[in-house]
């Protein structure tokens, strides 16, 4: 841990504290204030991008808990989000209040995650990745073919979420809802990492046999990681469904799982801050590409027809380049930049 110069800890509690300096707290406070004021400052387009970023942050941080912190690779995260989305959507359509429906969706996703997490006791690494891939495809099939409940390929149409009679029917209102949910998820995960359970997850990731010898119940903790992670993913899915007011199987395909994984790779495995970076980066990437394509369309008129393919290619290329040149992700780069300025001008 790179502490500030002259920052000494005399107790474990002090070392595990959330903010180690007042400066950090002030900066974060200012940033939150900026976010709260965001709907007044930015236009409708940017606001919708911010909304999507908030949802992506929840998805990324949940996967980071499972894959980055506990070391269990999941290729089924998109489907877990889907279970949450369908769960929440079905509940609100039956007249359940939105907050309860969201939690119910999360619980459904959590259950699905734990069921498909059971093989994780015997399987590791690549085998687990393939098992979760199977989970993804099987759940996708269920979304598509259980037409009586999920609406099949037509999907379900939803109303904007209503909380205690207050309808979040504009982007700005939705933004506050999503911001609160994203902040809560980040807090939950960041705090979980400071507890005994969080340390058990890290021990399992680092070496499962030593963890077991040190008294960590592998099965219980792996299942817990799957459950908590899928719960948050389900919440993200439920929020997404209610934000777009539509659920369909295509939203929760394997590409969603892959993009969640890409977010945590690009952001930084096992880092809460990294999940945020990754989610922001990968949400802005296609938007930036649209912008560039718009500018270039004066010279290449058919570029907009190729945009889908281009987007996929740029996504893949970014992923490969990050893995080769910055395998520890944006969070690592952020740390380096901070250290540089902290020590400036005496870097050595």
């Amino acid at each position: 841990m790179h502490g500030k110069c002259g920052l000494f800890f005399s107790s474990y509690a002090a070392e595990a504290r959330f903010f180690q300096s007042g400066f950090q707290r002030t900066c974060l406070g200012l940033f939150v204030l900026l976010l709260v004021a965001a709907p007044l400052l930015v236009g409708p387009y940017l606001l919708s991008v911010l909304n999507i970023i908030c949802i992506a942050v929840i998805g990324a941080v949940s996967l980071n808990l499972l894959t980055g912190v506990c070391g269990q690779i999941s290729l089924g995260h998109g489907a877990f989000m889907g279970v949450g989305a369908y769960g929440a959507a079905i509940c609100t359509l039956r007249g359940v209040p939105f907050p309860l429906a969201l939690l119910a969706g999360g619980a459904a996703a959590s259950l699905a995650g734990m069921v498909f997490g059971v093989p994780s006791l015997r399987l590791k690494g690549i085998y687990l990745a393939i098992a979760t891939l199977a989970a993804q495809l099987i759940l996708e099939y269920v979304f598509l073919h259980a037409g009586g409940i999920t609406g099949g390929s037509n999907g379900l149409l939803l109303d904007p979420p209503t909380i205690f009679g207050f309808s979040c029917n504009t982007d700005a209102r939705m933004f506050y809802l999503l911001l609160v949910c994203a902040a809560l998820s980040l807090l939950v995960v960041a705090n979980l990492l400071r507890t005994r359970h969080g340390r058990a997850f890290v021990a399992i990731r680092d070496f499962h046999l030593s963890a077991e010898i040190a008294g960590v119940n592998l099965f219980a903790y792996k299942l817990m990681a799957f459950g908590v992670s899928a719960f948050l993913a389900g919440v993200a899915g439920g929020l997404w469904a209610h934000y777009t007011q539509f659920v369909s199987p295509e939203q929760f395909g394997i590409s969603q799982s892959i993009s969640c994984l890409a977010m945590i790779i690009i952001g930084g495995l096992g880092s809460v801050l990294g999940s945020v970076f990754g989610a922001v980066f990968l949400t802005l990437l296609p938007e930036g590409l649209n912008l560039v394509a718009g500018t270039l369309s004066a010279w290449f008129p058919d570029i907009s027809a190729q945009l889908v393919a281009l987007r996929e290619g740029v996504f893949g290329l970014t992923l490969v380049l990050f893995l080769i040149f910055e395998p520890e992700g944006l969070a690592h780069r952020w740390k380096l930049v901070r250290a540089y300025w902290k020590l400036y001008p005496f870097a050595h």
Binding site: P119, Y127, A129, A131, Q306, V320
Partner: protein, 295 residues
């Protein structure tokens, strides 16, 4: 009954192609411990190059086929050198993600060059069906099956008797020991990617002749996983058998699900349901080697 016999034969043909693709997967996994999620896209690349040569450049089919193989070798070399070699020694998830990134890039290149419409290969073999036990079979199906079997025989012999094949097996067994016996590990890695690309390319050309090709062909790569898990991740014979079993199984399950449960499209997941069951019961497959961990 006739219907199920037809399904069985379809399954065997498709299974033959799965076997080929699975062979490529296993060769890479055995030699380099890399799990290749881009296998389906390698199939797609081969198929599109062959299509382009025959239809757009009017090269005779046999020459086009040989040139496709040459292209596959180059593709394999490029992929190994540019994307995989920098990641030697990295964690499983990094390697998985780099092949996923690779698959995105290949898919997008194919879409940029050839578009997303379905493309049909020119007819190479006669269209009149042959009759086998009273069931009509298109000659192209038969040719596909024979070609897959032939390639398998060739590669089995290659791994068993040739100098390079033995070197590859030695590398798979213990990289350090192989290196200290004078085997160039890097060359072996490159060679295994080349072989994987070539067999996938052949699979792609066969598929193109059967169904035509489109940019969704890459999803075939996912079907490889049930096949290799069933057979054991590091067994060539397992890949062959696993591919055939998965091909037959998904066709039969599809037919059964349609007849008895009224479920359509069960083909897409049948193999994965089986996959989950195998993973629960016998995670190292039929012929795979068990991992033994010592502290």
């Amino acid at each position: 009954m006739h219907y199920y016999l037809q399904l069985l034969i379809n399954g065997l043909v498709v299974g033959g192609i799965y076997s080929l693709v699975a062979l490529g997967f296993v060769v890479i996994y055995k030699a380099t411990q890399v799990v290749n999620f881009a296998q389906g896209e390698l199939v797609m690349a081969g198929a599109y190059v062959c299509f382009s040569l025959t239809v757009q450049f009017h090269v005779p089919f046999l020459w086009a086929f040989l040139m496709t193989l040459g292209f596959s070798v180059l593709l394999g070399l490029a992929v190994e050198r540019l994307a995989l070699r920098p990641l030697i020694g990295e964690s499983t998830i990094s390697v998985i993600m780099v092949t996923i990134g690779l698959s995105s890039v290949l898919k997008s290149l194919v879409q940029l060059v050839w578009g997303t419409q379905i493309k049909v290969f020119p007819q190479v073999l006669p269209a009149e069906p042959l009759f086998l036990a009273g069931v009509p079979i298109a000659p192209v199906y038969l040719a596909a099956f024979v070609l897959s079997a032939l390639l398998f025989a060739v590669f089995s012999l290659f791994f068993k008797y040739s100098r390079l094949g033995v070197a590859m097996r030695a590398t798979a067994f213990d990289q350090q020991a192989a290196q200290s016996m004078g085997i160039g590990i890097k060359n072996i890695f490159a060679l295994s990617w080349c072989i994987a690309c070539v067999v996938s390319g052949v699979g792609g050309v066969i598929l193109g002749n059967i169904n035509g090709i489109n940019s969704q062909l890459g999803y075939l790569g996912l079907k490889v996983f049930p096949a290799v898990i069933l057979g054991g991740l590091d067994s060539l014979a397992g890949a062959a058998l696993g591919g055939l079993i998965v091909g037959v199984l998904e066709n039969l399950c599809d037919g059964l699900a349609k007849d008895f449960l009224g479920l359509s499209g069960f083909k897409e997941v049948a193999a994965f349901v089986v996959l989950v069951l195998i993973l629960m019961i016998k995670p190292y497959g039929l012929f795979g080697s068990r991992e033994i961990e010592r502290v």
